[in-house]
C-alpha cells in the first residue's frame, strides 16, 4: 500500500514573530477567513467609492502559478490587483510588500498578515537568495504574487524602470507574468495623503507573457524586466492587450 503524502506546514515550529516575517508563512483557518472578509470589503469599497472599472479580466490565468505586475503610484494599487482575482484564489495570492513599511511595527505586521496576506520584501535585501525562495514557493505550491517592479510608488505618475528582480522569479520557467496598468489611483490617494478621495480608478489587465526561453541569469532577468515594462506601457494606448 502507498504511504500517505503528509506535508507539515512550512512554518511549523516557528515563533509568532518568525512566522510573521517568514516567506514560507502559510495561512490557517482564521487567517483565510480574515483574508476573504477583507478582500470582499475592499472590492465593494473600490467598486462603490472609486467606481473601479476593470478591463481584460479574462487575461488572468485560471490556475496559479502566475505573477501580476503593474505600475505603482498609490497604496490603492495592491488592493485593486488582489480584489480582481477569482474569489477562490484570493487566499493564494500574495502581494509582495516592502518589509520596512508593512512589517516594521507589530500592528502593521498583523494587518499585513491577517488582511492583505503580504509577504515581506526588504528593499536592502532582496537578492538572489530571497527571490530564489519566492520562486520555489511560486512554482511548488503553486501560488500567485502581486508585485510592483518599480520598487516604490512613483512620485510624478510616470512609470519608472522595472527592476530585474522580477526576472529572478520567472526567467526560464513557464510561470506567466500578467502586465497590468493602473490609472487614477494617484489622484485618489497620492503618496503624501492619508485619506482617499472619491476619484475613479481603472485597471487594465494585459495578456500574459511567458519567459520559458529566457536564460536565468543577469541578462535574462533584465530582458524579462524590459519586456514586461514595455507590455505595461503598451497598455496606456487603451488597446487592452499587448504581447
Amino acid at each position: 500500500m502507498q504511504d500517505f503524502d503528509l506535508k507539515p506546514a512550512n512554518d511549523l515550529g516557528m515563533t509568532h514573530r518568525q512566522r510573521t516575517m517568514s516567506l514560507a508563512r502559510e495561512s490557517g483557518l482564521i487567517e483565510t477567513g480574515t483574508h476573504f472578509a477583507y478582500w470582499a470589503m475592499m472590492r465593494t469599497y473600490l467598486r462603490v467609492y472609486h467606481r473601479m472599472s476593470i478591463r481584460g479580466r479574462e487575461n488572468i490565468p485560471a490556475q496559479p502559478p502566475y505573477v501580476m505586475v503593474a505600475n505603482h503610484s498609490s497604496h490603492l494599487d495592491a488592493l485593486m490587483m488582489v480584489s480582481v482575482q477569482r474569489w477562490r484564489l484570493r487566499d493564494k495570492v500574495f502581494p509582495l510588500a516592502a518589509g520596512d513599511f508593512f512589517f516594521e511595527t507589530p500592528a502593521m505586521a498583523a494587518f499585513a498578515t491577517l488582511c492583505i496576506n503580504a509577504l515581506p520584501l526588504w528593499r536592502n535585501n532582496c537578492g538572489r537568495h530571497v527571490l530564489g525562495e519566492l520562486r520555489k514557493r511560486l512554482i511548488s505550491e503553486p501560488c500567485a504574487f502581486v508585485l510592483f517592479p518599480e520598487g516604490t510608488r512613483s512620485t510624478d505618475g510616470k512609470i519608472g524602470s522595472f527592476k530585474a528582480g522580477l526576472g529572478m522569479l520567472v526567467a526560464k520557467s513557464s510561470v506567466p507574468v500578467v502586465p497590468c496598468l493602473i490609472s487614477g489611483t494617484r489622484e485618489a490617494l497620492p503618496r503624501d495623503k492619508r485619506c482617499p478621495r472619491p476619484r475613479r480608478v481603472s485597471l487594465t489587465i494585459g495578456q500574459p507573457l511567458t519567459f520559458t526561453d529566457v536564460s536565468n541569469d543577469r541578462s535574462g532577468w533584465e530582458q524579462v524586466a524590459n519586456k514586461t515594462q514595455r507590455a505595461v506601457e503598451a497598455l496606456t494606448d487603451g488597446s487592452g492587450g499587448a504581447a
Binding site: 504511504d3 507539515p8 515550529g13 490557517g28 483557518l29
Partner: protein, 336 residues
C-alpha cells in the same frame, strides 16, 4: 434554567467540598513550589550546568501556567470545564492539522472545527444522543463534502485525516468534557488528569530504573518494557487508592472495578503517548509545535489523555452511569 444546573455550571463555592479535590490542589501547588525551590537551591549551589538549569526552569515555568489552566476550570464550574475542553480540542486540532498538512484543506478543516464546536454544544446541553450521533454524522458530512473540490487524487487521505482528527479532538476530548455533566464531576476529572500525567512520569522514572528491553524502538526509542510495566503497577495502585475515595460507597468502589480502572488509565495513556509518537514519526518531525517551552506543542502534553478519556468514560458509565441525577437537554429542552 434550573438551580441545580446553575450550581453545577458556575458553583465555584463548592470547589473544595470533596477532600480529593482539596488535597490534589494543595498537592499541585506544593509540587510546583518545592520543585522551583529545589532548582533554585541546586543552581545556587552550582550543582546544575547551564543547559540543565534553563531546561528545568522552562519546564517548571510551563507547568506553572499549565496546571492552573487544567485545574482552574474544574474548580470554577462545569461550564468552564466544558469550555476549556473545547478550547483545548481546537488548539490540539490546530497542531495536528498543521503537522499533517490537513490545514491546507480549508473546507475539511472548517468541518472538523464545526464538529468540535457541535460536540461542545452537545456536552453542555447534556444530550447524550446527539453527542454520540456526532461521530457518524460528522464523518458522513466530511466524506460527502470532500467530494466537492472534485479532486479524487488524495481523497482517502483527506477524509481519513479529517475523520481521525475529529474523533481524537472532538469525540475523544469531548468525553472528558462530558464527565462535567456528573453531579460529582470534580473528583473524577481530577483523578483522571492527575493519574494520566503521573502515568507519564511513572513510565519515565521506572524506565530509568529498570528499563532494559525496548518497547517499540521504531516508534519511540526511549520507551522500555520495564518503564511500561512500572507505570502499569504504580498508576493502577494510585488510581485504586484515590479512586476508593472518589467513588466512595458507589458501584465503582470495589477492588476489582478500581484495579480495572487503573489498568485502563495506564494502558490507554501509554498507547496515547505512542500514538502521537507514531504520528510524528510518520510525518517526520520532532515536536508538534512551540507553544510550551520545554514541552514542545500542546499535543505533546495531552497526547495520553486522548485515548484515556473515552475508555474511562464508557467503563465508568457501564458500571455506575454518569450524570444520572442531572437534568438532561438543558438548552434544547425535549426528552433525553
Amino acid at each position: 434554567m434550573q438551580q441545580v444546573v446553575l450550581d453545577r455550571w458556575f458553583g465555584f463555592q463548592s470547589a473544595f467540598d470533596h477532600p480529593v479535590v482539596l488535597w490534589a490542589s494543595v498537592g499541585i501547588v506544593a509540587a510546583l513550589v518545592i520543585s522551583s525551590a529545589t532548582v533554585a537551591v541546586l543552581s545556587a549551589m552550582g550543582r546544575l550546568d547551564d543547559s540543565t538549569k534553563t531546561e528545568l526552569r522552562r519546564r517548571i515555568a510551563s507547568w506553572c501556567v499549565l496546571a492552573p489552566l487544567m485545574i482552574g476550570p474544574i474548580l470554577l464550574g462545569a461550564a468552564w470545564t466544558i469550555l476549556a475542553v473545547v478550547v483545548l480540542g481546537l488548539c490540539c486540532y490546530r497542531e495536528y492539522a498543521r503537522m499533517t498538512g490537513l490545514f491546507r484543506e480549508k473546507l475539511l478543516s472548517l468541518l472538523v472545527v464545526v464538529g468540535i464546536l457541535a460536540v461542545g454544544f452537545a456536552v453542555a446541553d447534556h444530550w447524550y444522543g446527539f453527542f454520540m450521533a456526532l461521530g457518524p454524522l460528522t464523518m458522513l458530512v466530511i466524506a460527502a463534502l470532500a467530494i466537492l473540490s472534485d479532486r479524487p487524487k488524495g481523497y482517502v487521505q483527506r477524509v481519513a485525516l479529517g475523520v481521525f482528527g475529529f474523533f481524537l479532538f472532538g469525540m475523544g476530548l469531548g468525553h472528558l468534557g462530558y464527565f462535567a455533566n456528573d453531579g460529582d464531576y470534580r473528583p473524577i476529572l481530577v483523578l483522571i488528569l492527575i493519574s494520566v500525567e503521573l502515568n507519564d512520569i511513572f513510565a519515565y522514572l521506572s524506565g530509568k530504573l529498570f528499563g532494559r528491553r525496548k518497547l517499540c524502538p521504531q516508534t519511540s526509542p526511549n520507551k522500555t518494557i520495564g518503564g511500561a510495566a512500572g507505570a502499569l503497577v504504580l498508576t493502577t495502585t494510585l488510581v485504586a487508592i484515590v479512586g476508593h475515595r472518589v467513588f466512595a460507597d458507589g458501584v465503582m468502589d470495589s477492588p476489582a472495578h478500581l484495579i480495572g480502572l487503573g489498568l485502563i488509565v495506564s494502558v490507554a495513556g501509554q498507547f496515547g503517548d505512542l500514538m502521537l509518537s507514531s504520528i510524528k514519526r510518520d510525518v517526520g518531525i520532532k515536536d508538534t509545535g512551540s507553544v510550551l517551552p520545554g514541552h514542545g506543542g500542546l499535543l505533546d502534553r495531552f497526547d495520553s489523555l486522548l485515548l484515556v478519556a473515552p475508555a474511562v468514560f464508557h467503563y465508568i458509565r457501564y458500571f455506575q452511569g454518569i450524570g444520572l441525577d442531572q437534568p438532561v437537554r438543558i438548552l434544547t429542552g425535549g426528552a433525553g
